[in-house]
């Protein structure tokens, strides 16, 4: 069929042009660092590329949602500073702002794909070791953008996104805590999609807190029988208790966990290390991860059944449009 299509010269040319235009459009959306005004011809080209990118994304969403869709995907949004260096942006905050813009796009993709739970690693506890200037910039970014995300969810999308800030809030400044509480409050009734913003977070802190909560409950008498304390008891007390993590994606090409969602990742989560910086993470990369997961799903569920774990995902999502 494909051969018949491409054997026709007009068809081949159109397919080639559309592919190039959509690639430029999709892959180039991150390269918006320039502030120079565009020429009219450049503006028209960008409009065409943007249209092709949107059309290509919609087509790929339609294709991939014919198969199973994960319930819970986690992202380690790595590479913002290196992206800022590469794009000659402001090193302290430029990369992180670009990273937030990419997060907004990724949330939109996940909404279209029907992924119900998204967790993102926004700030690690050991990131407090960075320069005061950068930590301050990140705190200001969080304070501003949590409110923006919540308001956007409420205003534009009929409260589709529920925001939860998972992390050790005792380490945060008061302004960020207020923004987090505001975001959680205004979006608490949304049911379509949950976003867990891990800020500030480490998996070892999460597990330790879960153990402490078990000890507190035992002290208070809330746990009657100590012999009943098991893995489920701890899991219910984690900052991100569920559902089970299906896919963990780390960008920037690093191949480590960086103390993120270890309890959840080690339970047969599909781990993918993608060799692009987070602001350059495109829908093509997301598509590849999802297709790869779909192909591995049968083996994953078979192994999970042998281990006594509940199977991954897999109802096909209803496309939103």
């Amino acid at each position: 069929m494909l051969g018949l299509l491409l054997s026709h010269p007009w068809c081949s040319c159109m397919v080639l042009l559309l592919s190039v235009a959509s690639y430029i459009g999709v892959a180039g959306t991150a390269r918006t660092a320039t502030t120079e005004p565009a020429l009219p011809f450049q503006q028209r080209c960008r409009a065409v590329c943007g249209f092709c990118a949107t059309a290509a994304t919609r087509l790929l969403v339609r294709i991939v949602t014919q198969g199973p869709v994960p319930r819970h995907v986690a992202f380690i949004m790595d590479g913002n500073r290196r992206y800022a260096r590469k794009s000659q942006m402001d090193r302290v905050s430029g990369g992180h702002y670009a990273g937030f813009e990419k997060l907004s796009s990724v949330l939109e993709w996940c909404r279209e794909l029907g992924i119900a739970n998204v967790s993102v690693f926004a700030f690690a506890i050991n990131n407090f070791g960075r320069s005061a200037e950068e930590v301050g910039a990140l705190m200001r970014l969080a304070e501003e953008k949590l409110v923006e995300l919540a308001d956007r969810s409420v205003a534009e999308n009929n409260r589709y996104l529920r925001i939860r800030v998972a992390g050790n809030r005792e380490l945060l400044p008061a302004g960020v805590v207020r923004s987090a509480e505001y975001a959680e409050l205004v979006t608490k009734d949304a049911t379509a999609m949950t976003l867990n913003v891990c800020f500030p977070y480490s998996a070892t802190d999460e597990i330790s807190c879960a153990i402490r909560r078990v000890v507190e409950d035992a002290e208070d008498g809330a746990i009657a029988e100590l012999a009943a304390i098991g893995e489920d008891t701890l899991e219910q007390r984690l900052r991100i208790p569920g559902p089970d993590l299906d896919i963990l994606v780390r960008t920037s090409g690093e191949i480590r966990f960086s103390n993120y969602m270890l309890w959840q990742s080690a339970r047969m989560a599909y781990i993918q290390f993608v060799d692009v910086f987070w602001p350059e993470f495109s829908f093509f990369h997301m598509f590849r991860v999802l297709v790869s997961w779909q192909m591995a799903l049968r083996s994953i569920n078979k192994r999970k059944a042998q281990m006594g774990l509940s199977p991954s995902a897999a109802a096909a999502a209803a496309p939103s449009s």
Binding site: H8, I207, S208, F257
Partner: protein
């Protein structure tokens, strides 16, 4: 005419795909979709299957290429167990020098093996020899089930008598084998089995641990139970339990750090319930289990070490 034939064949296949494919939306009683939408969904379903097929073919080809290349490559077992001649000794020395020149090596290497490995004792021997050759002081081998721990005595005996391990180290090394509930060790002149702590003098040349699922999630819940019991008895307050407290309880008894490098020997990029607390600082390299079928675990270990050597560890900064 050709165009008409093409359009007709696409429509026919799309109809067949839609009718024969997913029925959940129609069966669920939700609003009927238009024929156009159904055909579109059918075409998309075919495209997805075609993409899956294309990716599978691509991966199979890559695996075949990798397998062809690896057959001509290094076999650690052959190198360390073969007859001692000048050529072999020179190659061994070259590899040892190459490994010594790596800018960074993990202080603790963990290898995750699938449960169905046929000759686990051979695998442990090769991994131990590779770790000694690379001067990695701590090696952990993980399988989800307890098959390795059940073969602990056989593993201990094999390591003590192993020519491969001795050649990798240059002499008979002092190996501390940790099987969880007991420790075994061997050094020059021993034939393996249990050793009294007093007999083992000095620091072992390599510590080898055999882990299973019980070292992970069950250990964490056992710790929670223990601390809850202490709290109930008044020996502990909940506010004393913080990350440092838990880290202290879960620290390696021999003072080693948690694994720096985890080699996952599996076709699936999924960890089969590896102890989660111990993954906090780990870099992970995945290797297909089919590429290790010919006993090339050693070569894979060196490849992973070479990859680890290039990693830049920023520790959150």
């Amino acid at each position: 005419m050709q165009g008409l034939v093409w359009v007709a064949s696409v429509l026919l296949v799309a109809v067949l795909a839609r009718v024969g494919g997913r029925k959940d939306r129609l069966q669920s009683g939700s609003s009927k979709q238009s024929m156009q939408r159904q055909l579109c969904n059918g075409a998309c379903a075919i495209s997805l299957r075609a993409i899956h097929l294309g990716v599978s073919i691509h991966r199979a080809f890559q695996a075949w290429v990798q397998s062809s290349l690896s057959q001509a490559g290094l076999d650690v077992r052959e190198l360390l167990e073969g007859d001692d001649n000048e050529l072999v000794a020179e190659k061994r020395q070259q590899i040892a020098d190459l490994l010594s020149s790596l800018p960074q090596r993990p202080a603790h290497l963990a290898v995750v093996l699938p449960d169905s490995r046929e000759d686990i004792i051979n695998d442990v021997e090769v991994l131990c020899a590779s770790a000694l050759l690379a001067k990695v002081p701590r090696l952990t081998i993980y399988t989800r089930d307890t098959s390795m721990k059940d073969s602990a005595d056989a593993i201990s005996s094999r390591l003590c008598k192993s020519k491969m391990v001795a050649r990798a180290f240059g002499s008979t090394p002092q190996i501390d084998l940790d099987i969880g509930s007991k420790r075994a060790g061997c050094s020059s002149g021993d034939t393996g089995g249990m050793l009294d702590e007093r007999k083992r003098g000095g620091k072992p040349d390599i510590c080898v641990s055999l882990w299973s699922r019980n070292n992970g999630y069950p250990a964490l819940s056992a710790l929670a139970r223990e601390l809850a019991g202490q709290a109930r008895n008044g020996a502990l307050r909940a506010r004393q339990v913080d990350e440092a407290f838990v880290a202290d309880r879960l620290a390696d008894p021999l003072g080693h750090c948690h694994p720096d490098l985890v080699i996952l020997v599996d076709d699936l990029a999924c960890l089969p319930e590896f102890p989660p607390w111990q993954l906090q600082n780990a870099e992970m390299v995945q290797v297909s289990s089919s590429s290790t079928a010919d006993g090339s675990l050693g070569r894979i270990t060196f490849g992973s070490l070479a990859r680890y050597a290039k990693v830049s560890r920023r520790w959150g900064r």
